[in-house]
């Protein structure tokens, strides 16, 4: 039975809780709608259950309480996942790594080649097919990882602090590229970060979380996303608003 949750919610979480067998309560009473086409950021301190929400949405873990409703058919192609680390297979070339999701769907190398080329071009790595992960920089590996997540054209792209380990220059570049990718592919993005600036820069909506147990404290909608640059007054104001919300969340 579908519950009322806005016209275009792709995924709805209703009173979701997650308790691990060891007895740790990672999440309690989480209500969240993920709307088609949005760029939602989950922002919060370490250990507030941000990554747990992503894993639940991806179906990698099961909820222990409440319910999680997905309103799209998931046949193993609807969701792309980008981990904190690039998580590439070191024994495979760039092509092999991006080809993997297609290969697992039974495609041959030949028939998959156009899709792989396109995904690599999208992340600015055209012509790097034959390189091996160890030959690439951290930023380039992350691009390969993103290309892999996009190669099946997923409805929903889940990203778990993908740029946390990168230097600021690479991170800014990838932030901009991610926004472009989102526009080009039309994917809905759920992005986990603990950077206030990143959340303010990327999102159309920020869900601020607190820990002990993990929960969503407040949501901030960015009405005028990315109209200005990182220097604009609107961006500064949003950063301040998010920062204040986070401070409140930590106090609770």
């Amino acid at each position: 039975m579908l519950k009322m949750s806005g016209p275009h919610a792709l995924v709805s979480l209703r009173g979701v809780g997650k308790t691990y067998p060891a007895g740790v309560t990672a999440l309690r009473g989480v209500d969240l709608d993920i709307r088609a086409g949005e760029f939602l950021t989950l922002l919060g301190p370490s250990g507030c259950g941000k990554s747990t929400i992503l894993r639940l949405i991806a179906g990698l873990d099961r909820v222990s309480a409440g319910e999680l409703i997905r309103r799209f058919e998931d046949v193993g192609a609807a969701i792309g996942f980008v981990f904190q680390e690039p998580t590439l297979m070191p024994w495979g070339s760039v092509f092999d790594n991006v080809f993997l999701p297609l290969r697992l769907r039974g495609m041959t190398r030949r028939s998959a080649a156009p899709a792989v080329d396109e995904a690599l071009a999208l992340v600015g790595l055209a012509g790097f097919h034959k390189a091996y992960p160890r030959e690439l920089s951290g930023g380039m590996r992350m691009r390969v990882s993103i290309a892999r997540a996009l190669v099946l054209r997923p409805r929903l792209l889940l990203m778990d602090e993908p740029f946390a380990a990168l230097d600021e220059i690479a991170r800014f570049q990838l932030n901009d590229d991610l926004l472009r990718l989102k526009d080009e592919t039309g994917a809905t993005v759920v992005f986990v970060t603990h950077s206030i600036y990143e959340s303010a820069y990327l999102s159309t909506r920020v869900a601020v979380m607190a820990s002990g147990p993990g929960r969503i404290v407040t949501e901030i909608t960015n009405d005028a996303p990315r109209e200005g640059s990182r220097d604009s007054a609107a961006f500064a104001a949003l950063c301040q608003q998010v920062s204040e919300a986070l401070r409140q969340a930590m106090k609770e």
Binding site: I79, T87, P90, R134
Partner: protein, 264 residues
């Protein structure tokens, strides 16, 4: 002045061990001649070499037998070790049930099992089983470790894309386990030779006309010390050849991706 002409890579690698080898052999040869040590106490390297050449009709077939047994045992250990490791990775129950058996076989010195095997089996088969037993465990334990050491995120990714267990094994676990397997193979290769020699020694006269270790015992009875040294040299060379070829295999398979195969 620093030399502008740099020596080629292989020469820089091969030169130090070659120098040590030549120095040792020269010292040995010189000592034997200087102190007039009789050959039945310590033969000179040149005498060992000439004995090797003179007795080749006896020693080379023996080498072929020992090496054949070793390689056969190693091949069986690879098949058995990998198959059991895959089984372990698929079922915790199988692992709990069979790992102790494998450990008992491993910690019991092979030289102590050999006499028993020689009663049950004919000499050739007993030697083969001994060599198999010692080579088997490192391959099993390393491969099992490798199959269990898969990156968690990658395993999640395979789950996300609904990969079957079989495909996950083939595309993820097997390549992840490869460096571990190759490490086990290198140890197993050396041990297979040790196992074969130890079993041949235990077989003694029962292994008549068989491998190199038998020729060593036989030469020992006749106090033919130079031939003992010649046989020993052949065993060493066989061990080096096994190690070198497995190292080359490893470098070839891991070449572009694994840290261990990096040029430093």
């Amino acid at each position: 002045m620093t030399s502008v002409m740099r020596k080629p890579e292989w020469l820089r690698r091969a030169l130090p061990p070659a120098l040590v080898l030549i120095a040792t052999l020269s010292l040995w040869e010189a000592s034997v001649r200087l102190y007039a040590i009789p050959p039945y106490v310590l033969p000179s390297p040149t005498l060992v070499l000439t004995t090797l050449a003179a007795d080749r009709a006896i020693l080379l077939p023996a080498l072929a037998v020992t090496l054949g047994t070793t390689l056969e045992a190693l091949a069986l250990a690879v098949i058995g070790g990998v198959a059991l490791a895959v089984l372990f990775s698929q079922s915790k129950w199988v692992e709990r049930a069979f790992l102790p058996v494998a450990i008992v076989l491993q910690v019991t010195p092979i030289i102590a099992i050999a006499p028993l095997l020689l009663i049950y089996l004919d000499a050739r088969a007993a030697v083969l089983v001994c060599a198999f037993l010692v080579a088997f465990f490192p391959i099993l334990s390393n491969t099992a470790l490798g199959l269990a050491s898969v990156d968690r995120n990658l395993s999640d990714l395979f789950a996300l894309y609904r990969a079957s267990g079989w495909r996950t094994l083939l595309l993820l676990r097997a390549p992840a386990a490869l460096p571990y397997f190759l490490g086990g193979l290198r140890i197993g290769g050396g041990l297979a030779l040790v196992g074969a020699i130890a079993a041949e020694l235990a077989a003694g006269a029962a292994g008549k006309g068989a491998g190199l270790a038998f020729r060593i015992i036989e030469a020992g009875y006749r106090l033919n010390i130079p031939r003992m040294f010649a046989a020993l040299a052949l065993i060493s060379l066989a061990g080096i050849a096994i190690f070198a070829s497995l190292a080359a295999l490893s470098a070839r398979l891991l070449g572009r991706w694994h840290e261990s195969a990096l040029e430093r």
